[in-house]
Subunit: 198 residues, 2 copies
DNA sequence: CTAAACTTTCAAAAATTACTGAAAATTCAA
DNA sequence: TTGAATTTTCAGTAATTTTTGAAAGTTTAG
């Protein structure tokens, strides 16, 4: 299967970017191809289109499966497996974020958690442990937030994103309301929220 | 300089994770060491502590500089350069996010933008182009939001994060208010925002 | 300017990772 | 069961990346 220049360009780009994304060229190209394809493709078609060996494609697809980034399907009267990328780009984004967290963040969090339990042997050690704790808390806060955002349904999430930094206006309103009506009072002194111009 | 077991563990972890983060072992370990160190270190100290060759450390530091992740300083009466990681973990997080966007996302965005200008040659091509556009718009929305969030000052950002998915409550309030008071009317039909339980 | 102190560059070696073709394993229709 | 179709594994090779030591380059005190 000959690739059109349009698709070719996309596929090659993903192959090259692969290294920066922590995946290899084969995997990047396979995914790009599946993403743009109008119908599911089987491993032979992929191998032929991209000029990789059949076994290389097999390994690449395994990798993509482990990332939950491909769907498997079958065609009537054909024993081969057909692969496709999920249609919903939001779903893809979520999967990607989730898997990255699982592989790239969670192991670090456990390490940091365990390291907190050890007893520092000198002042330098104590300092190091404090730094690790700061890192731990930041990661926890950010990933927790990410997690929360991922739980929102798409429509809400999109609304929130389009709101962008104007969300601070809502925060101000909220602070005022909860102050006046007697809801949960905010902790600490409250400065007016401001956006910092970069 | 002998590393304590505590710091050793942290340093080795960062070295190993390096591959998943798209940096190499040397760079990961150097950064981990600087992050935990109670004072700036010079290149020789780093090389000795980690058991890398001096030149390897030099290259690693260059890489970290290109990521804006280290600060340079000098000690009185010493010509050597001393390196340290910024104290503020939030600043580190921002730098990291910014650099990653620049290297990992921006090139893809330009490619997608350019590819939109080409004329698809057949229905498959047309489909591919549509998919690329979906991807483009999603990335644009998400990175734009990220950008906005990065502009907030830390206190506000932290408040927002701790609010988590409860932020939807504010969205509801806002919708009600703007409807009643006659603020900027929301575009399209408005369904009550709901969080989807995963 | 010179020499000592320090840093960077670079070619080559070492280590790691990607890729292939052939063979083994699996699956399923008959 | 058998055997044809298909997928996976794996040992060897190729390509890439990392690391090093030596040499070259830079900076600055005197």
């Amino acid at each position: 299967m000959q690739l059109s220049p349009l698709i070719q360009r996309f596929v090659l780009h993903f192959g090259e970017m692969g290294s920066r994304w922590g995946i290899n060229r084969t995997v990047g190209q396979i995914y790009a191809l599946l993403f743009t394809a109008a119908r599911p493709l089987n491993a032979d078609e992929i191998a032929e289109s991209l000029g990789f060996s059949r076994s290389n494609v097999s390994i690449g697809l395994k990798e993509l499966e482990s990332w939950n980034l491909v769907r498997l399907s079958h065609q009537p009267g054909d024993r081969r497996e057909y692969f496709s990328a999920p249609d919903d780009v939001w779903a893809i984004f979520r999967t990607l974020a989730e898997e990255r967290r699982r592989r790239e963040i969670d192991p670090t969090l456990s390490m940091l958690r365990e390291v907190q339990l050890e007893t520092p042997s000198d002042p330098d050690d104590k300092h190091a442990q404090r730094r690790m704790q700061e890192m731990y808390e930041l990661i926890l806060l950010v990933t927790g937030w990410f997690n929360d955002m991922q739980k929102l349904d798409i429509a809400t999430l999109e609304k929130l994103m389009r709101l962008g930094s104007r969300v601070t206006k809502l925060l101000e309103v909220k602070d005022k309301l909860s102050g006046a009506v007697g809801g949960k009072p905010a902790e600490g002194k409250r400065k007016p929220a401001r956006t910092k111009k970069e």
